[in-house]
């Protein structure tokens, strides 16, 4: 028999396909179709926060030292941060495998 890739049955799916639990989109991993990832060169970075401002998915956050890093659970690899970085500190690197 062919493999069934359904994650829910028609008899067990929620009423009207409603999502009955609020706020659970945070649990949904959305960064797994990325084809390239941003890599920040901390030597060049001036902590200006342009990447954080421009990221359309709000994937960037500041670490303890003030550098910006993208959360790979949510980064889609669009490359806007690399394009906007005034110091060319961000390089887009192809995801392997």
């Amino acid at each position: 028999m062919a493999v069934n890739d359904a994650i829910v049955g028609w008899k067990t799916i929620t009423w009207g396909c409603h999502v009955l639990e609020p706020g659970n989109s945070a649990e949904f991993r959305t960064g797994d179709w990325r084809s390239q990832r941003p890599v920040v060169d901390k030597e060049k970075c001036i902590k200006c926060g342009m990447c954080w401002i421009f990221c359309p998915d709000m994937a960037y956050s500041q670490d303890d030292e003030g550098y910006y890093e993208a959360d790979m659970e949510y980064c889609k690899g669009c490359g806007i941060c690399a394009h906007e970085c005034p110091k060319d500190a961000i390089t887009m690197v192809a995801e392997e495998g």
Partner: protein, 392 residues
């Protein structure tokens, strides 16, 4: 006691919506539906009906507002027709999937071009697969009764689906008929207050209408199909209780003089009244003719139709739309599927009549029966024939 009064059918439908105590009415006027929403806006403005009447900027907005108000738990009504119904189309698919029990009376009208404000069934047939329960009224009283029935069925939690009540534009909408409007207390007893299973409530947030990824979508659609099929039980029970409450009986399929009839006409909507007159005339002339009328179009009442018409030798099916390039009209196609390869089932011939307000007269029904009789002996080349079309 309910009184029988002479009243325009559109006004009577609006009065039925008032009796049903609709709470939100987002609507945009379009001929021939206009009088329904016009009268409703009046009864809301006069304080006779405690409802929000939302004069929206388009039918797309009307149906969007309907989804919002129904999701918030309000009894919701709208009405449309033709181009307006098509402008709603993008949104029409959403309430059945989200289980929002909106009631929509559609005054059936032809589609442009050429521009036609007159009656046929093309507007609703292009919306055949939107997933709404769909009924067709034959006369003004039935239009009122089906509207009340629609609220009762739609909001039943076992159903929780939107319903379209089809009424023929002008033929029904603009005609004054003797109609019995039921008493408020009887309607209150028949239609209990709307208590949705889920509603949009900031105190208990839920998400309606999320993305259905490929691993979920098929299951969501399968469930939707099962829900509308299972709704038939509730539809039938609500008609039975309607008969007990108001004394008028309705069935998914009605028959007229079909006892031992060899040929049966199949119709939907108001032309059925003319068809009955035609059947009487042909019966008087010794022809074995009867009439089967489909009242419930979605979910399609297959077993009921087979029971009503299965013994006929010939079915002459009348479609009031001409889908260009199709094998035949939607009603004809449905019945051919229903009887396909069933031994001893009737021969089915499809006719297109009554487009864009063209009258379907007694003489036309006689012509259809005559042609179907001939086709039973010699099969026609095409699967359908356009009736009453002038060549030169």
């Amino acid at each position: 006691m309910a009184k029988r009064i002479g009243v325009e059918v559109s006004i009577a439908i609006a009065e039925a919506v008032k009796l049903a105590k609709a709470e939100v009415i987002p609507a945009y006027p379009i001929t021939p539906q206009t009088h329904i929403v016009e009268h409703l806006s009046e009864v809301v403005a006069n304080g006779e009906l405690d409802a929000e009447f939302i004069p929206v900027e388009s039918e797309h907005a009307a149906m969007s507002a309907c989804c919002g108000s129904s999701a918030a738990g309000a009894r919701t009504f709208t009405s449309s027709s033709s181009q307006g119904l098509s402008l709603m189309s993008e949104v029409l698919y959403i309430p059945p999937a989200m289980r929002l029990p909106i009631v929509n009376v559609v005054a059936n009208r032809a589609m442009s071009a050429p521009i036609s404000i007159w009656n046929d069934h093309q507007d609703i047939m292009v919306q055949r697969d939107i997933g709404w329960i769909q009924t067709f009224a034959e006369n003004g009283q039935e239009a009122v009764d089906l509207t009340l029935h629609a609220f009762r069925v739609a909001e039943d939690r076992r159903v929780s689906l939107p319903i379209i009540v089809n009424i023929d534009g002008f033929t029904l909408s603009h005609v004054i008929e003797p109609i019995e409007l039921p008493d408020q207390e009887d309607v209150d007893a028949y239609i209990p207050p709307f208590k949705p299973k889920y509603k949009l409530d900031p105190r208990k947030p839920i998400t309606m209408g999320p993305v259905g990824i490929p691993e979920v979508y098929t299951e969501a659609k399968m469930l939707q199909d099962q829900v509308i099929k299972n709704s038939k039980k509730v539809i039938l029970k609500a008609w039975k209780e309607f008969a007990e409450q108001f004394g008028r009986e309705y069935n998914p399929v009605e028959t007229y003089r079909t006892e031992d009839a060899e040929i049966m006409l199949v119709t939907m909507g108001s032309i059925s009244e003319t068809a009955m007159t035609a059947v009487d005339k042909m019966r008087d002339a010794g022809k074995s003719v009867g009439l089967v009328r489909i009242r419930l179009w979605r979910p399609f009442p297959g077993p009921e139709f087979r029971k009503a018409a299965g013994k006929a030798k010939v079915l002459a099916v009348i479609d009031r739309t001409l889908p260009p390039g199709a094998l035949c009209g939607p009603v004809g196609a449905e019945l051919r599927s229903l009887f396909y390869k069933i031994p001893g089932s009737p021969k089915i011939f499809s006719f297109v009549a009554g487009l864009g307000g063209r009258d379907v007269t007694v003489a036309r029904f006689e012509e259809i029966v005559e042609k179907a009789t001939g086709y039973a002996k010699k099969r026609p080349k095409e699967l359908y024939e356009v009736i009453g079309v002038r060549e030169k």
